[in-house]
Symmetry: C2
C-alpha cells in the first residue's frame, strides 16, 4: 500500500492520523507530495489523481482512493481493529453523521475562509483542477462559520465525551484537524468553551495527534 | 423506524431513493415535513433535528440520524442486501470516494448556485440554524461548477457503467438526484455528453427514480 501525503497540509493529515490510530504507520509506504512546490500539478501526480489533491491511497492491487472518506473506508474494512468508523449499525451511522457535520461545518468552513482570503491563493478558492477566483464575502462567511463550529463543538461535548458519542472515532479526527487547521486563520476554540476545550485537550494527547 | 421526508426537496430524496432500492418503502413509516411551510423550523421538529434539515431517520430504539450519509449507513448495515455502499473493502472505498465527489462537486454545487440566486432564499444561502446572506458571485460560481460536474459525469461514464465502477451504488443516487436538482436552475447534461446521457437514462428507468 502507498499513501500519498503532504506533511504540511490538513487533508492528508486526516488519513495520516487515521493510519496512526490503526497502528499502521510503519507498514504503509508514504510518498511525500510537496504542495508548496505544486507537485500535485505535475503530470506524474496527475496520472495518480486527476483531481490534483492529497491524500491518495493506492493498494497493492492497483486500486486508488482519492478522498479521505475513501481512504478511511478502505483502511477500516481491511484493518477493522480498532474500529474508527463505528462498531454496530447505530454507531456506524452516528459516526457517519458526525464525520459529515465536522467536515462540512468545520473542516470545509476553515478551507472556505482560508482559500478566499490567503494572498497566495488568488485563483485557488477551491481545490481541484479548475481555478476559481477568491470571493471576499465568502472568506468572511467562512470565518463566521468557524465560530459557529466552535459553538457546536462546545454544545456537543457538553453532552458526550466524543463527536459521535462514547467512543473516539474518525469524526474526532475530522473535528480535531479542523480545529488545528483553523489556527492558520488565528482562530481557536474560545477559552470559555470549557467542554470543547476538554475534548480538544483529550484528543491532543493521543499519539496520533503528533504524527 | 420513522423517516422524516419532504416530497419536494432533493436531500430527503437521496434517502427515499435508497429506501426504495432496498425494497423497504412499505416497511418504514414516512412523516412529511413541509419545507415550503417552514415546518422544519417548528419547535416540534427542532427537537428532532436541531440542524433543521430533512432527511432524518429515527430507529425503534430512539437513535436519530440527521444526514443522508448517516441514514444511508444505518440502512446499509441493518439491511445489507442489495448492497448500495459497496461489497468488499475496495468497492466500499470506491463508493465512498464517488459519493463524496458527487455530493461536493454535484449536489452541493447545485445547492450553492440555487441558494445564492433564488429570490425566496435571500438569507438562506446555507441550510441549518444560522442565516447567511446570498453572495451573487457564489451563485455564478455554483453554476460554473455544475457545468464542470456534467463534464466529470461524461468522462467518468466513458470509462465505466456507474459512478463507482461496474455496479449501481449510492453514488449513482447522489449524482442522479444532483442532476435532477440542477433542473431547478434549468441546467441539464449537455446533449453531446453521450456517456453521461446514457448513464442518466439508465438510472432514470429504475423504479426508485420515481418514488
Amino acid at each position: 500500500m502507498k499513501f500519498y501525503d503532504c506533511a504540511t497540509a490538513p487533508s492528508p493529515r486526516l488519513v495520516r492520523m487515521f493510519i496512526a490510530e490503526k497502528g499502521l504507520s510503519n507498514s504503509i509506504e508514504t510518498i511525500e507530495v510537496d504542495l508548496r512546490e505544486k507537485e500535485q500539478m505535475n503530470d506524474a501526480f496527475r496520472a495518480i489523481n486527476p483531481f490534483l489533491t492529497v491524500p491518495a491511497l493506492e493498494t497493492d492491487d492497483g486500486a486508488i482512493f482519492l478522498t479521505s472518506q475513501g481512504c478511511w473506508r478502505y483502511l477500516e474494512e481491511a484493518h477493522p481493529d480498532p474500529a474508527l468508523l463505528g462498531r454496530d449499525a447505530t454507531e456506524k451511522a452516528l459516526v457517519a453523521d458526525a464525520v459529515w457535520r465536522a467536515e462540512q461545518d468545520g473542516f470545509l468552513a476553515v478551507g472556505e475562509a482560508l482559500r478566499n482570503t490567503a494572498k497566495g491563493m488568488k485563483d485557488r478558492a477551491l481545490t481541484g483542477p479548475h481555478n476559481h477566483a477568491q470571493i471576499a464575502e465568502l472568506g468572511e462567511r467562512g470565518k463566521r462559520r468557524v465560530g459557529h463550529f466552535f459553538e457546536l463543538l462546545d454544545t456537543t461535548m457538553a453532552e458526550q465525551p466524543f463527536m459521535a458519542g462514547e467512543n473516539f472515532s474518525a469524526a474526532d479526527i475530522m473535528a480535531f484537524v479542523a480545529v488545528e487547521f483553523a489556527g492558520w486563520l488565528k482562530l481557536s476554540i474560545p477559552e470559555d468553551a470549557a467542554h470543547a476545550q476538554r475534548w480538544f485537550n483529550t484528543v491532543k494527547t493521543r499519539p496520533s495527534a503528533s504524527v
